[in-house]
């Protein structure tokens, strides 16, 4: 875009990074960025102009009805439904775009999958503002679709096989954030199988044909056994995989045809005509055959992601784009020089935009929890190769630069730091942070590789190929390593652990006995007894959450299979088993521990003020909490001000953190996933600290019902870290980041003024060295001043593009609730 260097410089000096980016990016990127419909819900509601797409549910329903009388097994029927959608949905190509593909029938459409859960379908009725006009017609279509899928959705199918007591407690919304469904949540991908350029869909189809022929021949010999009987299921699975791959190839070719029609009939600009022909050639090539260029590689990846999201709701996007697209970038930009760096940046920037616009209709509780974004799409950059050498490449830098140009809030990046990362790459990471993107978050690779080996027994070569499964958890993108469903549907609202110690497990917010019936808290005579009750409640909550997920995973291969994901996974192509089958997966589950640190500060307050100083009796405290501290403000402030708080390098309270983590990690080795592996905890919050504000009762750390909870997995409470950034790091370093849990989220706020210039970079680098030396696995930064954030609250129209780090993800500041905005402003700005 034509802008004097001066103007850009001035804007950057004023830290108006979003306006500077607008002036720096190419005309194409500027058009495509502004053309994008932001999909993240605001306060649980979709922004004006977005609509729920009814095309897909109608297609799925008509195909399901047509297949009712067919003798096909469910997995094949399901594959045919998917193929029907890919063959018939409306497709489009946006002006100036070079990458194509979208889930919905138009850019402002949010796709709704009615096959997942009747409860989700009923929510569509309550979203009239997001329904296409005329409303009466839409409601009629929704009624027909919803009626058809009532009793037939995935959740309907699995519920009769579940422990309903557990399910009811999970669905109460008090202790968990997720629904135990195989196709609900997200899935990792076997990138080592599908993204290394060795094979693509046609190669896999060839292999499937061979396996089907062999199995067919084998199953018709003079022989009978369990193994031969099982071949029938395997053949069906392979057939279903093949149907989805063939549909994927046809779908891509529909784009190729449209691109050619536009080029030949409508486009008058010769340059654009050439681009359209290239789009056509790209979609004729991939996903049928392996990519040869950066454009083909990005398009191939995009198709795979979209097909997977046609098959399941995916609220995360595990990816390692620099690692898998890097070789193509290198070849096109540096070796063959068929692309200039600027042309490559255009493609990479557009890739981010194509991802940012993806949307799937989600239940309101999920939309409320994911304020301002569609899901936690945290893409992994950096890290090491299988042999331990540095994996950073030109594409790493291109992605970090493109992110600053397009400034989308989702996807975000997480950078796998290790000692061999070059200064050039570190500077690019820093620029993104300094420019207020809130990403990349920084991950300590050596610690996390060791952690993956410790908790799940990944061999070192596998562990080194990890990607972020969602915000935080490492999961290798390998044959046995990747996780095919959201095992973190076992996400725990941990503040309930301490709350239930005071209520003997009764939840006064949802009026249900959820926790364990531990003895009345006023009868506990020692801190040790009190802590034992805490451990019992912790084990109870974790167990209630894990059991339904385990059960759903066991039921999934038969009842809720994923033929497309299976088709792009070596373990399924090889075995003929659905990708969700636990026996072919190493198992990589974790319990996301929302609202964890409240436990630590609460235990410390009780230990000090009740058991040691005896300033208050337990009965008094219990009553104060049940009454939400009403009439006891002075007492409440005593619990806030005069009890030690986590994050100040104070061994009194830090040792309580270690006791809690020790108890949780011991229990993590006792509870097992269906693959036989462990369930470590992972303290982080997404934006559960706000979502649960009205669900968690008053707590001994002085918090009242309705107050925001702490924002990070191991971040100190906002404003409670009074001793500076090194004290925070020292507290965090007392945790063993390998054996105490799966990962630990740490939010820090830094001053943009302090980070300016070369001096700012050197300060940050020193901070990062301390962080790395202390063995902390994660840190992420907000680097936007209070002044800018307050201005954005007053004048949101003017500050539409300001991005902040919420928890494990970034969002546009204006798209998050006032409560979350205030919570971010309250966080301590650390002077380095």
């Amino acid at each position: 875009m034509a802008a004097t260097a001066e103007t850009v410089k001035e804007l950057e000096k004023k830290q108006e990074w979003w306006w500077a980016a607008e002036k720096k990016r190419s005309r194409r990127l500027d058009y495509l960025r502004k053309a994008m419909w932001k999909k993240g819900a605001i306060g649980g509601l979709y922004p004006a102009g977005l609509q729920i797409d009814l095309e897909r549910p109608v297609m799925q329903t008509e195909k399901a009805k047509e297949l009712e009388s067919s003798a096909d097994p469910y997995v094949i029927k399901f594959a045919k439904m998917l193929a029907h959608v890919l063959d018939n949905k409306t497709i489009f190509i946006t002006d100036r775009s070079q990458l194509v593909g979208y889930l919905g029938s138009a850019p402002n459409m949010i796709t709704w999958d009615p096959t997942l859960a009747a409860i989700l379908n009923h929510e569509v009725f309550n979203d009239p503002d997001s329904l296409p006009q005329p409303l009466d017609e839409s409601l009629k279509v929704i009624r027909d679709v919803t009626n058809y899928w009532g009793g037939k959705s995935d959740l309907d199918k699995i519920l009769p096989h579940m422990d309903l007591g557990d399910v009811m407690k999970v669905l109460s919304g008090a202790i968990g954030w997720g629904v135990p469904l195989g196709r609900g949540g997200y899935s990792g991908k076997d990138y080592e199988y599908i993204m290394t350029g060795v094979r693509a869909f046609e190669d896999i189809i060839e292999e499937l044909d061979r396996r089907i022929d062999e199995a067919d021949a084998r199953s018709h010999r003079f022989d009978a056994s369990r193994e031969i009987s099982d071949l029938i299921d395997k053949i069906n699975n392979w057939e279903a995989m093949k149907i989805t791959l063939e549909a994927g190839i046809r779908h891509a070719r529909r784009y190729a045809r449209l691109a050619r029609i536009i080029a030949e009939n409508f486009e008058s600009d010769a340059v654009r005509r050439e681009e359209l022909v290239r789009v056509a050639e790209t979609c004729e090539r991939v996903p049928a055959k392996p990519p040869r260029t950066l454009q083909e590689s990005l398009q191939y990846d995009l198709f795979i992601q979209l097909f997977s999201r046609n098959e399941a709701i995916e609220g995360a996007w595990p990816a390692r784009p620099d690692f898998y697209h890097g070789p193509y970038y290198e070849r096109d930009v540096n070796i063959r020089k068929t692309l200039t760096r600027e042309e490559a940046l255009d493609l990479v920037g557009e890739f981010l935009i194509r991802a940012a616009e993806v949307s799937q209709y989600k239940p309101k509780w999920a939309r409320e929890g994911l304020q301002g974004i569609e899901g936690t799409w945290v893409w992994t950059l950096g890290g090491v190769k299988k042999d331990g050498s540095d994996a950073c490449n030109g594409m790493t830098i291109a992605l970090l630069q493109a992110a600053r140009l397009v400034r989308v809030a989702n996807p975000t990046f997480a950078f796998r730091w290790h000692p061999k990362v070059s200064d050039e790459v570190m500077r690019e990471c820093f620029e993104c942070i300094r420019q207020g993107l809130g990403y990349p978050s920084m991950r300590n690779d050596p610690v996390l590789v060791a952690n993956a080996m410790h908790w799940h027994g990944h061999p070192i070569e596998e562990a080194r190929l990890w990607v972020h499964q969602a915000c935080m958890s490492p999961s290798p993108a390998t044959k046995h390593g990747f996780q095919p469903m959201r095992m973190a549907n076992a996400t725990a609202n941990c503040a309930k652990i301490i709350e239930y110690v005071f209520t003997s497990g009764y939840d006064h917010v949802v009026n249900l006995q959820i926790g364990a019936e531990t003895p009345p808290v006023e009868t506990l005579e020692t801190y040790e007894q009190f802590f034992d009750a805490w451990v019992t409640q912790m084990k109870t909550i974790f167990t209630i959450l894990v059991r339904p997920v385990n059960r759903a995973r066991i039921l999934a291969p038969k009842l809720t299979p994923r033929p497309f994901l299976s088709a792009v996974s070596e373990r399924s192509v090889e075995s003929g088993l659905d990708v969700l089958e636990p026996s072919i997966s190493r198992g990589n589950a974790w319990i996301t521990a929302f609202t964890w640190v409240e436990n630590i500060d609460s235990l410390a307050a009780v230990k000090k003020l009740v058991f040691e100083e005896k300033k208050y009796t337990m009965a008094e405290l219990k009553e104060a909490l049940l009454n939400n501290w009403e009439g006891r403000e002075e007492m409440r402030l005593d619990f806030v001000r005069n009890a030690p708080k986590w994050g100040n390098d104070d061994d009194y309270v830090d040792s309580i953190m270690l006791d809690c983590l020790k108890a949780a990690s011991e229990f993590s080795h006792e509870i097992k996933c269906p693959s036989g592996n462990n369930w470590p905890i992972l303290p982080e919050n997404v934006s559960g600290n706000i979502h649960y504000a009205n669900i968690v009762g008053a707590l001994p750390n002085g918090r009242r019902l309705g107050d925001a909870l702490y924002d990070g997995g191991i971040s100190p409470g906002p404003g409670l870290d009074k001793k500076g950034p090194t004290a925070v790091l020292k507290s965090c370093s007392k945790i063993d980041h390998v054996t105490n849990g799966r990962a630990f989220l740490l939010n820090q706020r830094l001053s943009p003024t302090q980070l300016s210039g070369e001096k700012g970079y050197q300060l940050w680098k020193t901070y990062m060295k301390t962080w790395a030396d202390l063995g902390i696995d994660h840190v992420q930064f907000n680097c936007v001043s209070d002044e800018t954030l307050r201005s954005a609250q007053r004048d949101p129209e003017k500050y539409q593009e300001v991005i902040v780090r919420v928890a494990g993800y970034s969002a546009h500041f204006v798209d998050i609730s006032r409560k979350t905005q205030d919570n971010i402003i309250q966080r301590t700005v650390q002077g380095l």
Partner: protein
């Protein structure tokens, strides 16, 4: 009865001219694009507001 085959926006498949795509230009509040939707050549176009005689 007018059918899609008589419409400017109908683009038949080479391998089966009875089927094809209805290709239309769309301009929404944010972006402009071309969309394609599969249709059959003999689809009734009488009620289609976008019908344009070839």
């Amino acid at each position: 009865m007018a059918t899609c085959s008589e419409c400017k926006k109908f683009f038949p498949l080479e391998e089966d001219r009875k089927r094809g795509d209805c290709v239309q230009r769309v301009i929404d509040p944010r972006q402009a694009y071309y969309q394609a939707k599969p249709v059959t050549a003999d689809k009734d176009a009488a009620k289609c507001p976008s019908f344009e005689k070839r």
